[in-house]
Symmetry: D3
Subunit: 175 residues, 6 copies
């Protein structure tokens, strides 16, 4: 059985990792679909698809997950939501079950595949949008993500990138 | 003479129906162009183009309109507004006059075709964005749309769909 | 029950009309999906979606078909074939069965909906690509299409258009 | 040496002109890249790419700039920011240096080309978004743009266009 | 009066130059629209839009044309041919007349603008597709283009580029 | 060091596998980029990106390759060839060297990254287009691909799919 986990992973944090591992407890294989893959260098999407794939790969390895049971695959957006299930299907190995706590995702997929309701682990704490906020404000975000992710973001100077993006979108860019 | 009525029709309400009928009083044929056709399952665009076409078709039939005088046609958006007139022209049977009370529409089309100014019937009351709001808040929206539309939306469980979409966009979707 | 007939209808001919009528014998309603809707003024696609919709509408009326049981809807192409069923679904009223003699169409749709195998009526004779060839060569193509279609094509000077397109693509356009 | 100046130029104002001239003091040739070229008739992008090209051309001529040293070229957006440098490169003559005071632009381009930091001339005063605001409110915007631009906008009735757009986006467009 | 000349200019040759000059004899200003601007490194489209703009600019200067009377503007393709006139209009300064000897171009534009029939100068000789063929076969193509163009193509090693492209498309690229 | 191997892999054959393994002899990690990812159910592209990813994953595992050193990533096409390097860069983890025997690939990438020339292993034999031909003609293609790939294609009834596609494109599809 193959389980599917969908997210933008901006960035991949401990809540994501815990869910990924718990899916691997139940399924033979895990697919991590990296959504909004065409976007990058934006406040909501600072990291490229390639960077997100790399941080997820590193985080899974660090957590001693068997990578040979994992697929990490970028998915560009499809503006036509009705097509979403088959859009996913065309880019991913066949999946048997989707893990999601989001009722919108469930609504779009439930007629086509099995969706298992999952509760995000400490959503208040492990929340990518909050983590990006903490990065911008020099707060202690590193404890919320796997070490491998923290190291990767440091290596690509990701916090500085995010700060520049945030400043550019808030100041009058146009002149 | 063929008259054109353009809208997103999310959903098609009594104000739309009254205007459609009055166009058919003046013209031989009516084209209803269903705009933003590629969008669906969004707060502003909950229904698919196909669903909107079906509700308009049903509403016109219920109102005893002669369907053989009507065309109901989906139109995807064109991001280049200057091209809009010819974009419409390529997807629609030749039209002689556009009925619109919107001065923006008039501005984009007036150099290319005849635009007749129409006043929306009781805009305060018959307003699709307000009707969607009422659906979300369990208010009495059904009196504002043709019976056929109310029945159709019930059949596809549309109010529940809209509520899920609205909740998803307002709560922190990302985790 | 609603039956679906898919084609490019360049142009709509007697074989198409006969099939449309036979679907209406079996189903309550008929959807005619006009594919490759974004293309026009090309050798394979000389007529706009709007023109094709108009010729089909006229032909069905002329054949005394009850138009209130019909939907004629343009469909733009989706380059990702795997998504085709849901692409269709988003633009069309819900359909229960697709009528097609094409095994490729069957392959793409059979996992998602019912497909009924139909034999085209005299394919050798009623063949749109052959009819376009006859138009270019001033052969007697008019007997192969409904009168309404022949008249419509005449009205828009369609044969001349097709000849110009054909010459432009065969001569060295570039200079 | 060829210098590149990038902007949306909605509209082209005196601050833009002063920078363009100062680039021509340092470089042999100037490229003015007109970004968001596919957008028009929007509050943030009221003028078409063609209109913006024409106003820049007129303003440079009026300022007695040697046009044979200038390229004015529209650039459509690329949603994938990582590709931006090569996106620009494919549409523009080879450039040696980009003039920009925007740190976001610098971040996206600095690994690929030389970027020279420039301070906008009186940003508070010469600011396109502020100028559009002044147009809408009938304030004295004309002193902030080259005469040629003021005349051009008058000729195309641009202020009225902008007012209609602004009203359409603020009033309930949908009905 | 502003005249419009449309082409792909792969490459810009003496026939193009002669026509450009003769338009400037009749019109106040000339627009050169560089079509298929998004394509490059293809057998039919070896040069980028930016390169083509640069070679046209250089060729006009070399021919002592007053560049301040000229606009050289890239145009990406629009797959919907019906929209072509307004597609052009959105990217170009307002034009009064199109110069073309192509009856297909005339058909698409004649309902919207004035089209003047022009005969290409020695089409057999000055033909871009033939010139590309000559480049590949090391024949004497340089006499067919302005010196500035020959020099430019040499500078970017364009003949070698074209040969590589041609070999890649003809040999079994896939392995 | 990370090495990049690019292909459409329709299907992934022994030549691909041998090259992948030899890259892993030289590099720490291997990226396999699955090009033309948006295409499927076409004669040249019968398998979806997801299917190709799965067959490559299975083939590498079967060959006892350490999957934790591998990335298998779909890449959609970009029609603007000049942008290709940064298009790849946005979807892939940072790569240090590209392995390719194709001079066209080399030309597009050589200004941006290191490209190592590789000779395909027995190109005559291990050639995807030839293998698809053999599938259609019931020849013994299985010896040319890894067992895992042969089994996968059998499991999804891939040969039959390819035959249907091939017949559909060669027979007069239109009617």
């Amino acid at each position: 059985m193959r389980g599917l986990l969908i997210g933008r992973f901006q960035p991949f944090h401990n809540g994501h990792l815990m869910l990924a591992k718990s899916i691997l407890d139940e399924c033979d294989e895990l697919i991590v679909a990296v959504a909004s893959a065409q976007f990058n260098y934006l406040v909501k999407d600072p990291f490229t698809a390639g960077e997100r794939i790399e941080m997820i790969h590193e985080a899974l390895k660090e957590a001693l997950v068997d990578i040979s049971r994992c697929y990490i695959i970028p998915i560009i957006n499809d503006e036509n939501n009705t097509r979403w299930f088959l859009h996913l299907s065309s880019y991913l190995p066949k999946f048997d079950i989707v893990y999601s706590g989001n009722e919108y995702v469930k609504m779009l997929l439930k007629d086509h595949t099995k969706v298992k309701d999952v509760k995000p682990f400490s959503r208040d704490k492990f929340n990518a949008s909050k983590i990006r906020e903490m990065m911008i404000n020099d707060q202690n975000w590193k404890v919320l993500v796997p070490n491998a992710v923290a190291n990767f973001i440091e290596r690509i100077d990701g916090v500085n990138r995010l700060k520049i993006i945030a400043r550019s979108e808030s100041m009058p860019q146009e002149w």
